[in-house]
Amino acid sequence: MDARSTQGQPALSIEHIAVHFGGLVAISDMNFVVNEGEVVSLIGPNGAGKTTAFNVFTGFLRPSQGEVRYRGTSLKNLKPHEVTSLGLARTFQRTSVFQSVSVFENVMIGLHRRGRSRLWDTLLALPRERESERELRARAAEILALVGIERRSRELAGSLAYGDQRLLGVALALASDPSMLLLDEPVSGMNATETARFMRLLDGLRGLGVTILLVEHDMPMVMGVSDRIVVLNYGRIIAEGPPAAIQGNPEVIRAYLGQGAKKRAGD
């Protein structure tokens, strides 16, 4: 979260990315840039390749062609946990918490990379172990307070309400101290209150200088929080620009309502 000074420079750059699953082209020649401190949304109909793109950006999937760079470092040949070490953290569309441990423990797991104790410190219960654990616990409490679920910290993550589980997912991503967050449909399944709360959280994160890339179906939310929107359809970028421009773009409207709608209207 040290992006203030570099505001406006490219953070994540996607260069000629293509993903093929056998004969299926999931993504073809994708190019775009997310600048430091920006909130960019990636939208598109179901099956447009959004989650596939996310998996490529975070090292979970190797692209067939092209390259992803984060702050100048190529993600080629990096494993997902190494991508996280660069400061790029993600959330998942569905199961995004460690179900059978407490909320607090979840965040403690998320703080893994901040722990400084070594194996010997742990086995011999040396002071460094206790000190490191104390730091982690304090940080975990801070993060839970930041996303607003500190009251739930002793509950099992699996027993949380859906919206709180999504917040915990974000807390987990934040725990790795990212400079950029990739959120995969964070408000899907949330009610209006929960969504509003989530948007406030996003604002808060932006205030901390975290760059955000969002995949989302909730259009009011996307229009409300994004600086720029990238629209995907059938693995291709069909439009890119600020929310106002995207809303009126005829190609985007066609992609969303589909040819089917037009046909049915004509029948």
Binding site: H81, T84, T95, R113, L119, R151, R154, L172
Partner: protein, 344 residues
Amino acid sequence: MRRLLPWIALLALASVPLWLKDPYLLNAFVTTGIFIVAAMSLNLLLGYTGQLSLGHVAFFGIGAYTSALVSLGFDVELVGGFRVIHDPWPVWLGFVMAILVSGLCGYLVGKLSFRVRGAYFVIVTISFAEVVRLVALNWVELTQGPLALTSIPPMALGLPGLGHFEFFSKQSNFYLVLGVVALSYVIIGRLVNSRIGRAMVALKENESLAVSVGIDVTRYLVLAAVVSAGIAGAAGSLYAHYLKIIDPDVFLFLYTVTMVIMVITGGKGTLAGPIVGGLIFGFIPVIARSFAAPEIQWILYGLFMILIVFVLPQGIVPAIEKWFGPGEEPGVGGAADATMQDAQ
């Protein structure tokens, strides 16, 4: 209270040889204790990383053979007329070597199976155990094959100038095994209650999420395998020096199954689980023997196991914790209401 419980259990167990003089029962305690150590090591893998090592007895057997061979000495001819002669070493060095060699094997298995999880990990570990068993059976020059390694010396501790102690009697072996159980408990307890243990649980719970928060899961899986194998090797060493004879039957699949039963019934993923499960299933045959014919004993064993798994699917220790635990959890409903109001 909860913090005192392990100490109370340790004191209670330490008092056993003072009032129990029956050599048969004391023997049952020692062998059960040895299997409890092995079950605890299995629990580290199965209960915390979620990976089932169905060849776990391999590490136990490797520990037993290593320790026996190091303390007995051997003379083998390798390919190309190259001979390895090893003079007998002190027994405690055999114990240390057993831990190191088993740990190394754990490292290799962990590395070999770095990409395989679930069923595939199970298959890799079973195959490994079978290969090791065949080696022990067929490398007669080293292991005596089915003729067994005999006259294994008892465990001994010797420090220059401080005298020498041999664990010959059942009482002394009881305390030796109890000590190793306690030490394993502390080591595993420290590991699983640390950042390392959290990484292991993360791997068990949701591997892709674990990776996404920056955990190098392979590294922690290998670490768990090394520590687990090392402790199993220590158990094997105790076994060899207590029985003073080992043959390739130490690699029997049955022993792995026994360990799995101890862990599952006691409660996998809990520190005390393998100890509770181990005591129960170590003593069922002993108790059943006093009133039932051999065939009936095994039927009772099986029935009891099925009963526990049906009634307490999470295991005995988690069930007890749940029974006594609720006081510690904050009221779930109350907290939920409060946060909902907050949000509005």
